[in-house]
């Protein structure tokens, strides 16, 4: 009962108000800092991380922003983001493909320099690096897609014929030429940015994007029947009924049944 009546001693009262004030202040400061930290994760699409960089979700926990990777890059590809002037989290290393791409050094000096493992020391070969993925973003302006033979992006690729190939198709516009479509193969593209830098257009038609933007993802449970069939030497499930395929042509008799149903007569001029 003395507890109920005795007022808080002045020291205790001060201690409590001080504590509450501090906690309040820290909550405010902490919320502000949290907001900034979340904001810092927004990596602009044209900023690429150095080879071997951990995923963006852990990179900001790992990189101490020492700049050793920047110093050791012999081509001055990398720079540390400057506050307010560059997009990525301030002080973190990045490069812009269109300005200075990565030259894909064999000894990967940037990774060797990184003291924290923000650039993964496990990156054995620069060909395994995935700084991003090249995407031919603008087929309407790409000279090769217009039917010309520019080929520059293809020629400069350090992983030529694997990361990027020229795929032939018929040029419908001219009717008798081919289109040599530069085609990126994401499983081999390192994202070095050479193609984007070399693109002769005033604004590159091929761009290296962060993998998260460049690529879709197949659902976990999707299986490609034709691949499975090849691996298995036959269908995975027994007793599948092969329904007749509908073929082009008039009438109801345009069905090709398994076993080779052939219509008994052919309409003249009907194609088949």
């Amino acid at each position: 009962m003395s507890l109920a009546t005795s007022p808080l001693s002045p020291q205790r009262r001060r201690f409590l108000t001080d504590g509450a004030r501090m906690a309040g202040g820290c909550l405010m400061a902490g919320s502000g800092l949290t907001w900034l930290a979340q904001d810092a994760r927004a990596l602009p699409a044209n900023a690429l991380r150095p080879p071997g960089a951990l995923g963006e979700d852990v990179f900001l926990a790992a990189c101490i922003r020492c700049g050793l990777c920047v110093r050791d890059c012999p081509y001055d590809t990398l720079s540390l983001a400057r506050l307010g002037a560059d997009g990525p989290a301030t002080g973190t290393p990045f490069f812009t493909a269109r300005d200075v791409p990565c030259e894909m050094c064999d000894d990967i000096p940037c990774v060797a320099a990184c003291p924290t493992g923000a650039l993964d020391q496990g990156l054995a070969s620069i060909n395994e690096a995935r700084m991003g993925t090249a995407v031919l973003v603008d087929q309407e302006n790409c000279l090769n897609f217009l039917g010309l033979r520019c080929d520059v992006c293809y020629r400069v690729c350090p992983v030529i014929d694997e990361a990027i190939t020229l795929e032939l198709s018929h040029n419908n516009r001219s009717g008798h030429h081919a289109i040599f479509a530069p085609t990126v193969h994401a499983d081999r593209c390192t994202g070095c940015g050479k193609c984007e830098q070399a693109c002769v257009l005033p604004e590159a038609a091929i761009k290296v994007l962060p993998v998260r933007l460049a690529r879709g993802a197949s659902a976990e449970h999707y299986r490609k029947g034709w691949e499975e069939m090849q691996e298995n030497g036959g269908p995975l499930v027994d007793g599948i009924i092969d329904l007749p395929d509908r073929l082009p042509g008039p009438g109801t008799d345009n069905l090709a049944a398994p076993g080779g149903f052939e219509p008994t007569f052919k309409l003249p001029g009907a194609g088949q």
Binding site: D18, M22, A23, G25, C26, A29, G30, L33, T34, L36, A37, Q38, A40, R41, L54, D57, V58, L60, A61, A62, C63, I64, R65, C66, G67, L68, V70, R71, D72, S79, L80, A81, R82, L83, G84, A85, D86, A89, T90, G91, A113, C114, P115, T116, G117, A118, Q121
Partner: protein, 303 residues
């Protein structure tokens, strides 16, 4: 008020020992600050690769890694265990500052120190009010907050706003708008809060303070009996609450300044005309008797 108390700060020391001797630790400190900055700059400017990197992490002569242990700690609580280089670098720095006093970083290395010192000099010049004075341990709370935010967001949180590394990076790697942040600290210390940043808020200083709790290098007020109450040491000390326990200690109380807040800047040694203070180690407890105690002493004590 005694005439010595009223006299401008440091006047008697300059008269007694000359300007240079009365500023020797201040000059040494500025030289040290320039030296540590220059180490990082000769690489980019002259091409001699002495020290690469920034204050957050560096490599000396291509071999010796050094890492800011506070940055490393944030990384760890954020969920990333650093590679051996960064980790050993952090341990080396940790060991050195644990020995010579954590806040030696603040007064001898940190590039923000000249900024806040300049702000304080102007603040004194203008005779401004001390303004908002949050408690000294606010920085400890902030330190805790930074670690919590690091853990929650999975980022090295303080590096997003840290004016120290921001300024250092700006000088060594290129500026952007980092100067705005430095200016903010300057204006804050000048107009909002006397000794506000380094003395009350900076969590980096708080971290290094904790680091140096048991440091070997200490300032002692061994000749405290000679003190003539000019109060100049209190005026120049950036953490002046640390002085009284040592200087005004009753008989038997240690003359060592043991508070982890002391930055070992040595300004008190500079500014004392009767040589009360000196650098020593933490086990040197001896107190010197005054050769000839000033007669006015008893009178001021009673007043």
């Amino acid at each position: 008020m005694k005439p010595t108390t009223a006299a401008p700060i440091g006047r008697e020391a300059i008269e007694a020992r000359g300007w240079l001797a009365a500023h020797r630790f201040l000059i040494l400190r500025r030289l040290s600050q320039v030296f540590f900055l220059a180490l990082f700059l000769v690489g980019p400017m002259l091409g001699w690769r002495l020290v690469d990197g920034t204050l957050a992490g560096s490599r000396t002569l291509g071999v010796l890694p050094l890492t800011d242990p506070f940055v490393a700690l944030q990384g760890i609580v954020a969920g990333h265990w650093p590679e051996a280089a960064a980790l050993s670098g952090a341990l080396i720095v940790l060991a050195v500052y644990a020995l010579i006093g954590g806040r030696v970083y603040c007064s001898w290395v940190c590039p923000i120190n000249p900024v806040t010192d300049a702000a304080h000099w102007l603040h004194d010049r203008f005779g401004l009010q001390k303004g908002w004075q949050p408690r000294r341990h606010t920085r400890l709370w902030l330190l805790g907050t930074v670690l919590v935010v690091s853990a929650l967001t999975g980022t090295i949180a303080w590096e997003i706003v840290n004016p120290i590394t921001m300024m250092h990076r700006a000088i060594v790697f290129g500026a952007g708008f980092a100067w705005a942040l430095v200016l903010l600290v300057f204006v804050f210390d000048l107009a909002v809060s006397r000794r506000g940043w380094c003395g009350h808020l900076c969590p980096v200083g708080a971290f290094y303070g904790i680091l140096g709790r048991k440091s070997l290098l200490r300032v002692t007020a061994a000749r405290r009996a000679a003190c003539d109450d000019c109060m100049d040491c209190f005026a120049v000390c950036p953490e002046n609450h640390v002085i009284a326990p040592a200087l005004r200690g009753k008989d038997g109380a240690t003359p060592l300044i043991l508070s982890p807040d002391c930055t070992n800047c040595g300004r008190c040694i500079d500014v004392c005309s009767v040589d009360v203070f000196a650098f020593t180690h933490r086990f040197d407890n001896h107190v010197e008797a005054t050769p000839n105690p000033p007669p006015a002493r008893a009178g001021t004590r009673a007043a």
